[in-house]
């Protein structure tokens, strides 16, 4: 936002660009490097609101990460980096939540992306049935997590739940499970619910992405006589790169922040096998350890940033390798 200060010295910006011949060279260089000054006015309203009502309060909150503030008392002590040190060295619960979050994220990202992409590409035509199915698949997204949790409690119930009855009825008794009570696998069952809950939302993004692919590309591919898979691999996949990027990154963040659903299915605070980073942070807040929770939040953000970055790289590699 400090950038436009350089501009003020120059002449008032004119919309026309082709007439730049008469301009001082220096100015033209700036413009080539940093764009039309008016472009900076576009994000300005958003930035102002965001800084005042989001960024500043967030920084204020994060300042407590080096204190032992409990969240309500008038006073607190500065504890330096103790909170971070404890997180790094001696907090089984945080490590457990981190492991769970990563497992959960991995499963959710892979399946939610895959399902939403497959569904989106199957329902791209505007036939009556596709339109209807798109709406149906979107439905779970609009429900409250309380009701989603309630229904899935009865699906997962080990004694008279739908899942075990269905498995038994097709003779797969060996696969019956205590689901959310199975300490090693509970987090994956939670992931299934999350995928069920949000796939429709991501499908919407893919539909938007797929629609921006120019038809000519497919026509060209048809002339060349490429197969279905090849066409997907070399036309669709690279062309929906932005949509894929959005879906993967958003799914990642959504899975890290999944919260109501975990409390609904795992209790509050949730059992250890279902505790993820967001519920861990919430518990720290509820436990009146605001300072510690702020430190956990910072680590949380760092982890998301790192994971998103790695994903970006990976996706880029597959998409450019076409």
């Amino acid at each position: 936002m400090s950038a436009p200060s350089t501009v003020r010295t120059g002449p008032a910006p004119t919309p026309a660009r082709g007439t730049s011949a008469g301009r001082p060279r220096k100015h033209r260089g700036w413009r080539q490097r940093f764009g039309h000054p008016a472009f900076y006015l576009f994000p300005l309203p958003a930035l102002v609101v965001y800084v005042i009502f989001f960024a500043v309060p967030t920084v204020q909150a994060f300042q407590y990460a080096v204190t032992d503030w409990d969240g309500y008392s008038a006073g607190y002590r500065s504890v330096g980096l103790d909170n971070f040190e404890q997180l790094a060295r001696g907090d089984d619960l945080f490590v457990n939540a981190m492991t769970n979050s990563l497992k959960f994220m991995l499963v959710v990202v892979v399946f939610q992306t895959l399902f939403s992409l497959v569904l989106a590409s199957m329902l791209l035509r505007n036939s009556r049935s596709s339109t209807l199915l798109r709406a149906v698949f979107f439905l779970p997204t609009i429900l409250s997590s309380v009701s989603v949790a309630f229904v899935w409690k009865f699906i997962y119930d080990p004694n008279f739940g739908l899942a075990n009855s269905a498995l038994k009825s097709v003779g797969l008794d060996s696969l019956t499970s205590s689901f959310l009570g199975d300490e090693g696998k509970a987090i994956y069952f939670l992931a299934i619910t999350q995928v069920w809950f949000h796939t429709g939302q991501m499908m919407v993004i893919f539909i938007a992405g797929l629609q921006q692919i120019p038809r000519e590309l497919y026509e060209a591919a048809a002339i060349d006589g490429v197969g279905r898979w090849q066409r997907f691999r070399h036309v669709t996949w690279p062309m929906i790169a932005p949509a894929t990027g959005i879906v993967i990154a958003y799914t990642t963040i959504q899975s890290f922040k999944a919260f109501d659903l975990v409390l609904g299915l795992g209790g509050n605070p949730p059992q250890g096998s279902l505790d993820i980073l967001s519920t861990r942070i919430y518990t720290s807040f509820a436990d009146s350890r605001f300072g510690y929770a702020a430190a956990e939040s910072i680590v949380f953000m760092a982890v998301i940033a790192l994971v998103t970055l790695i994903q970006r790289r990976t996706v880029k590699l597959t998409q450019s390798g076409a």
């Binding site: 936002m1 950038a3 919309p15 660009r17 080539q32 490097r33 940093f34 764009g35 008016a38 472009f39 576009f42 994000p43 958003a46 930035l47 965001y50 009502f53 989001f54 960024a55 500043v56 967030t58 204020q60 909150a61 969240g71 497959v118 569904l119 791209l124 339109t131 709406a135 149906v136 698949f137 439905l139 609009i142 429900l143 309380v146 989603v148 229904v151 009865f154 699906i155 739908l162 069920w196 939302q201 539909i207 938007a208 629609q211 921006q212 497919y218 279905r228 790169a241 932005p242 949509a243 959005i246 958003y250 963040i253 922040k257 942070i281 807040f285 605001f290 929770a293 953000m301 998301i304």
Partner: protein, 271 residues
């Protein structure tokens, strides 16, 4: 041919998986509590329509409905406006400044809501924005700006550069380029973002819970809490509330879906 059957089978299975839990909920809204608990997966023993009467008849729900509609409509529109402006600007600012500003805005997505909740509450309280619908709209905008910018900028970056260059050559200024080129071309992604925002704002619970005391300013998710007790949750009534509260979203979705279709006819894919 085989693949077509495969496609049908796949869609059929997925439809069933989606619909079964939904039907449990829907049927649940016509059941008694004990019927719901003992036979969650069957049709109601006796159809109870009273829940709908109770939900639709209560004045609280009516007020909450109006408030939610108002807050959601304003929040979605304003967020879209601010975010599309920002996304357009950020997509057109070349080099690192664009990326830095983008990163700064988008970073907000990864902040856990509980982390900045208390300072935000204090700020809104000082400014007299608690207990007001305008305050709710503002906090909704702020909390979803990052995701809206993220989605819209992602799409706007992919609009071909040549279009912008041609516009510039024709002497079209940045504002008109935004209005008459960038926006119409981004219609599918705007619709997708609007759907996202619609769902988020309509179901938002945390901020109303924190900011609203006045019963006349309660939103739907707050009203639904009345069915959710400490030890005794009235699930049939809750489900009824959820069904009723979801209907506007279904309508909103169907309305916005048109813009996908509009995007299609603008010329793109055949399968």
């Amino acid at each position: 041919m085989g693949s077509r059957i495969g496609r049908r089978a796949l869609l059929g299975v997925y439809t069933a998986l989606v619909l079964i839990p939904l039907l449990v909920m829907f049927a649940g809204s016509f059941k008694t509590t004990s019927d719901l608990f003992s036979n969650p997966f069957s049709l109601p023993e006796e159809w109870q329509f009273g829940n709908y009467g109770e939900v639709l008849g209560s004045a609280d729900m009516g007020t909450a409905f109006t408030n939610s509609a108002l807050v959601t409509a304003c929040s979605v529109t304003l967020t879209l406006l601010l975010a599309s402006l920002a996304a357009y600007g950020l997509a057109r600012i070349p080099g690192w400044p664009g990326w830095v500003l983008y990163g700064f805005l988008v970073l907000g997505m990864s902040v856990p809501a509980q982390a900045n909740m208390i300072p935000q509450f204090v700020l809104f309280d000082v400014l007299g924005l608690t207990d007001s619908l305008a305050g709710l709209v503002l906090i909704n905008i702020v909390s979803t700006l990052p995701v809206a910018v993220f989605i819209l900028a992602g799409f706007m970056r992919t609009l071909p550069r040549e279009i912008y260059e041609a516009a510039a050559l024709d002497g079209v200024g940045p504002w008109r380029t935004y209005r008459s080129i960038a926006l119409p071309l981004s219609l599918p992604s705007l619709a997708a973002t609007a759907i996202f925002l619609l769902v988020i704002h309509w179901n938002e619970l945390l901020y109303p819970l924190l900011f609203i005391n006045d019963p006349d300013k309660r939103t739907l998710p707050l009203a639904l809490l009345n069915f959710q007790g400490e030890f005794l949750t009235n699930y049939p009534l809750l489900f009824t509330g959820v069904v009723v509260a979801s209907l506007p979203l279904v309508v909103g979705y169907i309305f916005l879906q048109r813009f996908f279709i509009a995007g299609m006819t603008a010329g793109s894919v055949k399968e």
